[in-house]
Symmetry: C2
Subunit: 265 residues, 2 copies
DNA sequence: CAGCCGGTAATAGTCATATTATATTACCTC
DNA sequence: GAGGTAATATAATATGACTATTACCGGCTG
């Protein structure tokens, strides 16, 4: 069979198997383009370019990064697509008000994380999770399709494995929360994936449930309880159960941080 | 004074006054680039290109849209930045799993809206608002800076004006909810703006509080109650108050739709 | 026959240059 | 000084060439 594109609506689209779903964002390969976008994006996040003002003009940036105009423009398009800037002929590339920056974007969050994970930012992430995920779980409980349930159960089974590295556990955990998003039946909820992923990557960087068997067990049980609640259609219980799981994670971070601070003295 | 760029961190950045904040997304001018991005983005949302499969190869798209390769590539970069596709040498431009699509992106939502506002989608939007906005309001009540309060009050005052068009009222309403996002002190919450904007544009398209004086009054009072709760630091009350406002909006849509359906018969 | 290895070719990535469009600024007329 | 018009800076678009990456194929080797 010839290599087949699938853009003819008439021909039944034949989706080839996805090339392995998740993989955490940390390890993504970086082309020169991405690197520069990341650099400028990070600088924007740092506040080096004041909103309402202009970015340096094209020639200057080209000189700075030693790249062709083509690449520079594509980088700008990327930043524009994420809501950071807007370019107009004769005006230059203007930095937009931060309200319009797509913080929910996976890349943007990743840049923000690499910028440093102050408590402040972790708090913001957690606040969003605390409001969105319970809602998603409640919706899942409302709809609870058998396929979703069994998928969630499988996720829990994966999390329960005892041979996890931090990395592999983080992936399993992420899969679970993504599955919740899907089970909610709300595409927007499912789209919060990047937020969760970032939060998990961040929080598991220095401590993970797999470091401590009892923590691991508690985490798995917590997740299992969520599925139970969803399966029996108890919206309220599902929401509370997932909130509990989030809180366990937050506590682990707090504890670890305190320990680390203590050791530093 | 010479035209001044502000990219030197050393020199105190002098933000020029924002060129008038909001303006609803509907009216944005469209360059050829944006048009094509919108076209392809819409087609992606429609499901014309199966996830995991390839987009049509560059030459074909260039032929289709009658544009230069430069523009085509920038469009692809835009779509890539929004999580729709990923291009690799020798492989082509592959459509990513919809989980990764940035639904929270203002453009993406706008495309989705223009695609048609089925009840299903409005429901999704509302579910997200119902979970995020109360959380934001609660946080605002926790922090309640005087500046935020007075800004919110001003928003309410603007909404209360009796000389509103649907458009101008929608903008005032949007300003209010943006202000709530800001007042939450959480940049991620503030970033949900695009979702709200889309929801408002959508919901006011066919009916608006300004169409009916008593509806208008109820809406304004509802918003005022939110500010009261925030000011006195009652998180719970603030959350409930904003939920009420959202519900009023949802009801208006339902009623209008039913009426319209009735008339069609 | 299976599996490795290297060459080939398809495809996007990058580059350089030229032309065009558009908004701002400055000037010029009235 | 108001209003219009030309000059100019800046990004937008176009074009064509070259480069880099890697999937695929076919041959070699065990």
């Amino acid at each position: 069979m010839k290599a087949e594109t699938n853009y003819r609506p008439t021909r039944a689209a034949m989706p080839r198997p996805m090339p392995r779903l998740s993989r955490l964002a940390v390890e993504r390969a970086k082309s020169s383009h991405d690197q520069i976008a990341a650099t400028l994006g990070t600088e924007l996040l740092k506040g080096l370019y004041a909103p309402g003002g202009n970015m340096p003009p094209e020639p200057e940036l080209i000189a700075r990064f030693q790249i062709s105009r083509t690449v520079m423009r594509e980088v700008m398009k990327t930043l524009a697509a994420k809501g950071f800037v807007i370019s107009k002929t004769r005006v230059g590339t203007r930095v937009r008000d931060p309200v319009y920056w797509n913080y929910f974007d996976a890349d943007v969050l990743a840049w923000r994380v690499r910028l440093g994970l102050d408590d402040e930012f972790m708090k913001s992430l957690t606040e969003v999770r605390r409001s969105l995920e319970p809602a998603a779980a409640a919706l899942a409980a409302q709809r609870r399709s058998p396929t979703d349930i069994s998928r969630l159960r499988e996720c829990v089974r994966q999390m329960a494995r005892t041979d996890h590295t931090r990395q592999s556990f983080a992936e399993a955990d992420l899969d679970f929360h993504l599955a919740i998003g899907s089970a909610s039946g709300n595409p927007l909820m499912r789209s919060m994936a990047s937020v969760i992923e970032t939060a998990l990557v961040a929080s598991f960087a220095h401590s993970s449930p797999v470091d401590d068997p009892s923590d691991h067990e508690a985490t798995v049980n917590g997740h299992s309880a969520i599925v139970d609640a969803i399966e029996s259609g108890e919206e309220q219980a599902a929401a509370e159960a997932i909130l509990k799981v989030i809180n366990i994670g937050v506590n682990r971070i707090d504890v670890t941080r305190k320990k680390q601070r203590g050791q530093k003295k």
